[in-house]
């Protein structure tokens, strides 16, 4: 149990640290908690929107023209999610390799160093890929066919 004095001190201190106040400061810290963004569906990611549209067009050749729109767009989104996971894996290793590897090391060894430092994070990404693969399978199975 905290004492009354400690509680008062905590309240006083909390008033001092309320995060950034300026627009620039807020903009700078906006993505502090963002790790890889893979929990956000591709549909909500503006950067992935074009790719979703492109894959939807590709899926259009399979559809019947009746009731397929949702299934095709959801399958395309799942496919983009799968691609995002694979891209994220490569980006994590590349970033770590640049941080840890010295220029006199061959590129493959730099990548190996980066990879060794990130295996835990990479293993954690597996579930995102599994989930997206399963979603894509579901949507493609129920999509009406020509």
């Amino acid at each position: 149990m905290s004492s009354a004095a400690k509680k008062a001190a905590n309240r006083r201190n909390a008033q001092k640290s309320t995060g950034p106040r300026s627009t620039v400061g807020k903009a700078r810290t906006r993505y502090n908690a963002l790790r890889h963004g893979l929990s956000i569906p591709a549909a909500l990611d503006p950067a992935a929107a074009d790719r979703v549209k492109e894959l939807m067009l590709a899926l259009d050749q399979l559809s019947t023209g009746y009731g397929e729109y949702d299934c095709a767009s959801l399958a395309a989104e799942a496919q983009v999610d799968i691609e995002r996971v694979r891209q994220a894996k490569a980006a994590i290793v590349n970033k770590a390799a640049q941080r840890l590897g010295s220029p006199d090391l061959p590129l493959t060894e730099q990548a190996a160093l980066g990879f060794a430092s990130q295996t835990k994070s990479l293993a954690r990404l597996e579930r995102y890929e599994r989930r997206s693969l399963s979603l894509r399978k579901q949507w493609l199975e129920i999509m009406p066919r020509r």
Partner: protein, 212 residues
Amino acid sequence: MLGKHLTETCSRVFAKPAIMLGEDPADYEAMRDLVLADIDQDDVQECFLARDILDSEWELLRLRGMKPGMLHAAITRAVNAMMAEESELQPLEREWVSPLRRHLVGALAGNAHERKQLEELLSKHHLSFQLVIGAAFEATLRPQVDTDRMIGAALDRRRAAYRELNAYRERKEERARWETEMRPVPAAKSARGNAPTVASNMAAGNGHAGEA
């Protein structure tokens, strides 16, 4: 053979490969061509599955390469750490790092001459080949175990993609067979002389007449 439309579709599906540092995009493309030639996909869903197979294969190769790669990269650090433990030993001189790695890669590839030179180099620091490999392996034990798990996951993904592809093709064949059986016979051959229907088709003995 792929049609023009399907080639475009396929190239859309296969865009944006995930390439890591030290990997060659040309190798990925060469592997893609091999996988596509083997699978001979004929619609976009098969393209998706072909891409899954390709990416799993690529990841398997990558992970299997990472295992010795991690060991190689950890050697010099392991040597330095071992020297730091022994207070009377000097840390590894920078100019020795490159020959050490060169001899090591040669020795691990089975070159006896390189191994002898490596042993000589290490003996100057009161170390041995086995000791250094052991220390490097110990330093990368956790990542090695994680990598094995990731290899298992990639193998599962590849197996699942092949299974899904086979099931999809079987369903497609079954649908095509069913459509052929249910196709109306031409009017001249119709038993009743009326416009052909599924019912008249069945009555004529095509399709599932026994069930009608």
